[in-house]
């Protein structure tokens, strides 16, 4: 196994200047290894999205750096695909066109695109919906399109910003299960942002807990629950205990 970290976030500071300076992130440090599933959890407004946008390359940090595969991030790259919190599926494209977008950008041939998109569309359970327009799909199905599109582009890192935040509880837990299924099959390094403790614990190898704004790394919790995980895991005492631990951490005032 590759022991060199896939993502290194080092001494990261971020502030926005408006009338006065708003400090959003303060001295963030962590590393993520290859094919690791890491969640970042923290109260709303603590800078999670900002952190993810810096890692994606959409924002430059005020200080510090993000290193992916040994090189400093300077801008967006298809090796780091983002699944946004908002619905980012292109509404004017069919499911298939959406899923093939990253491949089209890479200049992959039509046959190869069809083959890959078929695979991922089936993997996310959307077989038969290839030619549908997004407006004919439910919120959960659109998220599946978004996931398939991200995976099909062939990134090494997936950055997910509360992707299931807008889904109802049932669809959400279904999608979590699906995401794990896909990840177990396809791997990739995933950085997953959420404010849902149970979601973070259920999905991740490690959970990074941020403080409220300005966000600092409060604690990194290792989740040693066995894999593959099924939804029932959430109802076990071990899980409840972990949940409690994170809950207390977040409640704590510094």
């Amino acid at each position: 196994m590759n022991l060199k970290p896939k993502i290194i976030v080092r001494n990261l500071f971020m502030s926005f200047k408006q009338e006065k300076e708003i400090k959003v992130l303060e001295n963030i440090n962590f590393e993520i290894s290859l094919n690791e599933f890491v969640s970042i959890i923290g109260p709303s407004g603590c800078g999670k999205t900002t952190l993810l946008r810096i890692i994606a390359g959409f924002l430059k940090p005020t200080k510090g750096e993000v290193i992916c595969d040994g090189t400093t991030v300077k801008g967006p790259s298809p090796s780091r695909v983002v699944v946004f919190q908002k619905d980012a599926v292109f509404p004017w494209m069919s499911v298939r066109q959406n899923v093939e977008f990253g491949l089209l950008a890479k200049g992959v041939s039509q046959e190869e695109r069809t083959r890959i998109s078929n695979y991922f569309i089936e993997l996310v359970g959307l077989k038969g919906f290839e030619d549908n327009l997004p407006k004919t799909l439910s919120g959960g199905m659109r998220k599946r399109v978004d996931l398939a599109r991200a995976y099909a582009a062939g990134p090494e890192i997936l950055l997910m910003d509360e992707p299931f935040g807008s889904l109802d509880a049932q669809t959400k837990s279904k999608m979590q299960e699906e995401l794990l299924k896909i990840w177990e099959r396809e791997k990739r390094t995933i950085l997953f942002i959420t404010h849902d403790i149970s979601e973070a614990l259920y999905l991740s190898d490690r959970v990074i807990v941020l403080t409220s704004r300005p966000g600092k790394t409060k604690k990194i919790i290792k989740v040693s629950l066995p894999r593959p995980r099924k939804n029932e895991l959430k109802f076990t005492p071990e899980f409840a205990e972990l949940e409690r631990e994170v809950w207390d951490l977040i409640q704590e005032k510094i």
Partner: protein, 262 residues
Amino acid sequence: MKQQKNTLYYWIVSYGITITIYSIISLPQISILFFPRPEILPPVTWVFKKVCNVLVSGLLFRSTIRSLERMTSGYIIGGVLGVSFGLLLGWSKKVDYMINPYVQLIRPIPALALIPLFTLWFGIGEVTKILLIVEGVFFVTLISTYEGVKKVPIVYIEAARCLGASNHLLLQKVVIPAAVPYILSGFRVALATAWAIIVAAEIVASKEGLGYLIIAGSNHVDASLIYVGIMGIGFLAYLFDKVTRLINARLTVWMETRGEGE
């Protein structure tokens, strides 16, 4: 089905009332009370005779074709230029900074105010009339395309960027499709502008066309001819509107709310 029958019924009643009132007040015995000559408010039968006349003589056909030619060439050239410049200005900040001052300066000038100048420069031939339409359509479609590009949700642009899209792919597959609803609404507004310009231009400087029929009717104190011109314009405008609406519906099927409106 029943709904449709009802609508038709109301249409007939509504038109019927108008025509009846017009027939009464246009009776020579009555209209003489208001106007010195019956041609100013011609009875329905006269209008009908006139319509048959211009149909048989081919005058209506020729005039319609003339106006249609000017309209389509001006509309297409102006639209293509407007959309291109709109994309360019909306996309590139540098171009925007350079060209926008001119746009801001020229756009508010009504195209009609330019008729005399264009006539001096380009004569009273086809060029002047087509250029006037081009000018009008150009600015309307430019502004709406520009708006559309500026309003593309950032999330789509960022999603495309991180999926590795080049500038070209981004423009072709994301920015333009996302801006299509704005572009199309610009084309519909431009339609009204273009009709106003073509009629004005034909009235001021032309020897053929529906606008010319209108001014000829006025010069010869023959309101029937004016009616013919107006009805011709109305018919063409209706046709154009129908076609743009069809295209509109076709290109925006992907939208959640298909804002068809009236």
